[in-house]
Subunit: 261 residues, 3 copies
Amino acid sequence: MYDRPDFLDLPQRTPKPRTSGLTHVLDKGLTVSALDALLEQAAEYIDVLKVGWGIAYVDPHIRERAILCRQAGVTLCLGGTLFEVCAAQGRIPELARWAHRVGIEAVEVSNGLARMSSDDKRTLVRELSGEFIVFAETGTKDGDAPVTDHLWVDEMEADLEAGARHVIAEGRESGTVGLYHSDGTPRVDLAEAIAARIPLGKIIFEAPTKSHQTWFVRKFGSEVGLGNIGTDEVLALETLRLGLRADTALLAEPASVGARS
Amino acid sequence: MYDRPDFLDLPQRTPKPRTSGLTHVLDKGLTVSALDALLEQAAEYIDVLKVGWGIAYVDPHIRERAILCRQAGVTLCLGGTLFEVCAAQGRIPELARWAHRVGIEAVEVSNGLARMSSDDKRTLVRELSGEFIVFAETGTKDGDAPVTDHLWVDEMEADLEAGARHVIAEGRESGTVGLYHSDGTPRVDLAEAIAARIPLGKIIFEAPTKSHQTWFVRKFGSEVGLGNIGTDEVLALETLRLGLRADTALLAEPASVGARS
Amino acid sequence: MYDRPDFLDLPQRTPKPRTSGLTHVLDKGLTVSALDALLEQAAEYIDVLKVGWGIAYVDPHIRERAILCRQAGVTLCLGGTLFEVCAAQGRIPELARWAHRVGIEAVEVSNGLARMSSDDKRTLVRELSGEFIVFAETGTKDGDAPVTDHLWVDEMEADLEAGARHVIAEGRESGTVGLYHSDGTPRVDLAEAIAARIPLGKIIFEAPTKSHQTWFVRKFGSEVGLGNIGTDEVLALETLRLGLRADTALLAEPASVGARS
């Protein structure tokens, strides 16, 4: 049995199954044996595993992926770009049937390619949330697209009303669009506007790099929902949440250097 | 059995064994169990696995690597720097004997260190192509070296005539030399000059990052030969080729948002 | 049996157990099966495996990690931030008891958060070196902290006198603080000042990227001690040390292109 250390004063973390403080991991095509090892190590720290963009469509092991996630209590989610390509080709029913057949429980409904209206998107959130757990993403993948705080938040509220379990704020794998300026720094006003109107537990901020994750943990605390976490960064993120990495360590308490006794 | 989805309209991809549309992967020393898992997952999408630079020389598992690749129908190739160090030390015969002994089928003949003349290089291409599959690379690893389109293409033509199976356009792991400007953007004129005179199926463009890969897929289509692909990016590249990643999705067809029914 | 090639003239490398020329690897939470495969492949090239910052505290497999390292002749070391958080909370005795219980042999005593005096740090080096192998790090993680050559070297000398086995020059995972300017280039004067007064075999320079590693190998030779090496870069670093990667290949010898015969 794992003899977990407990000799430090650290922030509390909600245990799984969690409805807030989610860690949403981006799987870019991990091999099945690597996924198996990851889940054995870190399932406790992973809430959602998203198979990025259209990778599920070319992955010969998508069924095994679904089985491993289900056994580990991790929600397996399809990527938004696959959803959008299916929507553009009129193949959402085929996508849904296939996803059920291979054992996928969740889908991301996004509009990163900006090919549908907000109404179309909301309709699809409503329809799909009858059959799947729906994560609804806001924001486009186009770095030149205007980002207007209140339009983002309006869309998020509408998506939650339409049945989305959580909303995702787009940051891509690069962290240079949507939630971030092109230089990678967060859009502070946007993050604050979202947090002001959407319950924090319902939001997943895409935060692909350590500096992004650090910013959100410092801003909203250990229990902030974070997405697009690399499969090799799961334990690292947990240490950031708990103040066990230099970037977030000893933020609050006064200095009191411990002597040996 | 793998029940491959087939409900989307996507570009055709030539099945293996391919003579064009090659994916050439850079192996920086994957463990044997990780390579085994990768090949089980993605052998269908990998044509060549190059053991980078001199890694084969220090890898205790080079024989196992060769066996796994052979079983999976993937061509295992030595790195060009190992070839060049052997050439500079007068040890090409020893290299060839050792490569045969451990089961390696292919070598890269390159001149990245700019230590030999084009004639010397062509002579070695001719000699080695009697015993090995030869990939001949053009371009130096020196970012300050001049890049002249017609000299590159002349060298590529000569290497193909001398027996090289494919030619590789140097981009390094960084994507900042040879085929690329120092800021990482492609040398458009050079890429076009190569494609104008060399059959597209014979060319492997080194394209180490997603933005490089995207540029080439958009420029030359799904079946462009791409090299220096990371071992963890194989499925991701296949989605780029197929238009299942945002960067290349829905490039051509008109918007037609699918309703649910 | 592994039939190691030996047909090239390469720099000599001290075999394990080494007291100089160390490779100190940063483990950011590798799964146990990936660690097992890595050690099977590359234990010969790894002297120390540091479980980064506080990852050991959240890793359910820390015991297995310790067992695998011990079997492979690799020293498992805790991260400095975990030490510093324990020091700040007055929990060094608890840390030591737990580390013994799970089988950890080495600790890093650092002051990256700048929360203790040099005297406090030296006292802890002395106390802990009675029970553990101690790696003492110099430098803070704050990019704005002044870096004074002679203060760094004074601290390193004092730490070695207090019982540290090796001293580590801070560079972080980013390579932009301590030993490096904020643009990632090395502080040449600092590196030279350290090497002038501390025996080279006692120093581990944190060198997280290929360009950092290249700089140190070119500056101090194949047997320089290097730290914060990625778990997927171990074979790659060994080729850099041996001149089997373009960056360090053929530095010394005159050009003599080998003909085939």
